[in-house]
Symmetry: C2
Subunit: 327 residues, 2 copies
């Protein structure tokens, strides 16, 4: 790895988003460098075992040591409501589903603190809930995501994920589909399969492999350490996974989170599942993957106004740090 700071413009091979890798910027002065985000204060956490009465009734529970290990509830403050009534006017009524997956009865902050068996069961719940919603013809897609820490937009600290099923294909997924479609038309191959083959061959951005899964730092990562996790075998929908395929992925995810923590300390991050829309006939050209985005800086004017990102740490350097485990 060269020590010279990297400075170049990159375009994401899938959706084309642009990122300036600008390692020179890492040394700039920062009036806010001393800013420390205070710890959350969760004196009375509605997600802890024993407080089930403070949340809606569970849709699904997975047993474990204690009252349950995983508990799925409708979001009490949903962005979208299932079975919402369509209203007149130019605005569409929200009609979708929004649920919360509580991933431990204990007040843990991160799935990295679960055992691999426990995380495997959590992944099984993700799969099962996606299967459930995929059977509703009115819903087109679900985004499953995890906000960990204040800087990642979490409002509650207790380890949990959210599932938002929508009556349309969201823009970010549509942009990936368009890119994948273009590539497939020209090359007759899934672009993610090709990308992964390249990453495994090059190795410079590879973070880790576990069985049939791999994790690498994204070529056009928008934030330092942005990491994608995906299956090496082509698969378009996460919810088609078999039970036997979950444990290896759980192990990879925990490994990557552990390495990130070694670099960044207690980190804030978003972890987002990208999966083919429910009723799509394009399974040949799309590949499910998780995008793990540590939130080390705020999105600022250029990101908001231009859609152009600036990343002060090259994905190659980030991957090397994660592989080596050195700080």
């Amino acid at each position: 790895m060269p020590n010279k700071p990297l400075s170049e413009l990159r375009s994401d091979p899938i959706d084309g988003h642009k990122v300036y890798i600008a390692e020179d910027r890492a040394g700039r002065p920062n009036d806010y460098a001393g800013v420390r985000i205070a710890e959350a204060s969760a004196a009375s956490c509605p997600f802890c075992a024993g407080h089930e009465g403070e949340t809606p009734a569970a849709t699904m529970e997975v047993p474990g040591n204690g009252p349950w290990q995983v508990r799925v509830i409708p979001n009490k403050y949903p962005a979208v409501r299932y079975d919402a009534v369509q209203v007149a006017g130019d605005a569409e009524a929200p009609s979708g589903a929004h649920e919360v997956i509580i991933e431990s009865p204990r007040h843990l902050r991160d799935v990295a603190e679960l055992s691999t068996d426990e995380l495997t069961r959590v992944l099984g719940v993700y799969r099962d809930r996606l299967r459930h919603w995929s059977q509703d013809d009115r819903l087109q897609h679900a985004t499953l995501f995890k906000n960990v820490g204040f800087a990642a937009g979490a409002s509650l600290e207790h380890v949990h994920s959210q599932l938002v099923a929508l009556p349309f294909v969201p823009a970010a997924v549509e942009a990936e589909l368009e890119g994948s479609r273009r590539y497939y038309q020209t090359h007759g191959q899934c672009i993610y399969c090709r990308l992964l083959a390249d990453e495994l061959r090059l190795g410079t951005r590879l973070v880790a492999r576990r069985g049939s899964y791999a994790a690498f730092c994204a070529y056009a990562g928008r934030q330092p350490y942005e990491t994608w996790l995906l299956p090496q075998e082509h698969a378009a929908q996460f919810h088609e996974l078999a039970d036997s395929e979950l444990a290896e992925f759980a192990s990879l995810l925990q490994h990557v989170l552990g390495r990130l923590r070694r670099q960044l300390g207690e980190l804030s991050y978003n972890l987002i599942l990208h999966t083919l829309p429910f009723h799509s006939a394009e399974a040949q050209l799309y590949h499910w993957h998780w995008e793990l985005i540590p939130r080390t800086s705020q999105l600022a004017g250029l990101e908001w106004g231009a859609g152009v990102h600036i990343n002060p740490l090259s994905p190659e350097r980030a991957a090397q740090k994660l592989r080596d485990g050195d700080r």
Copy 2:
């Protein structure tokens, strides 16, 4: 204004981005509600008068009370470099301009603290720098933006803006252009002119008018209080403004910032100029405007993963609060 919480899905009329207005969510519990961002510590600020030696030599200075009132410098830690050498390989070398506009010799935090005359001079500098870069055929567009406060991605507290001129039209601007083009082809009119006429007629999202400028809360605002400021007369490029047109806009901007501060206290915000690409022949269909986005919450998984925003305060309610000036 009805007191019932609003819950609906909106699409932006220009670029189509989707926002769930979900006022129900305003009451949800928050472990991080007590988080206070510590003040910046700017013991030695490179942007203050007397510290000019710590920054690159000025490209432009506007005289004022003191050594200067406005000072333009190349960014010492640029995302893009002017006259960068093109490198081989699949990545493009950054080639663009990145400069900083320091808007007061005093350590102020916000342009709201300038006099209207001073802010008018600052706007004149924006205009002049855009004119300057617009004459370079290699550059396609410039984004002029201001990050104020930690939550908006600022690294220095001292009042300043940034200009990033790029050798391509950035994605967010291209998306607006596409929407504007579609509307123009069907209706033979600038979509922003139509939108503004509607907003002035309806009045529910209007915040203020000053002479020939208006400010309103965006119909599909992505964050509470997102406000757009624009000229009532059609104009595609900010850098074509005459000197005589700057003072009214300065007055409107200060008014809006004052009203926002009354609602939100010392706020973090991004203020971003959207203007027609330099060499475009589509002046008839695009309309320059500023997007002012107070940063009251973090972008989370749904925004990152799906491109779908959730806004817990309706634009109509936000505009009413800004008009009335009550908390």
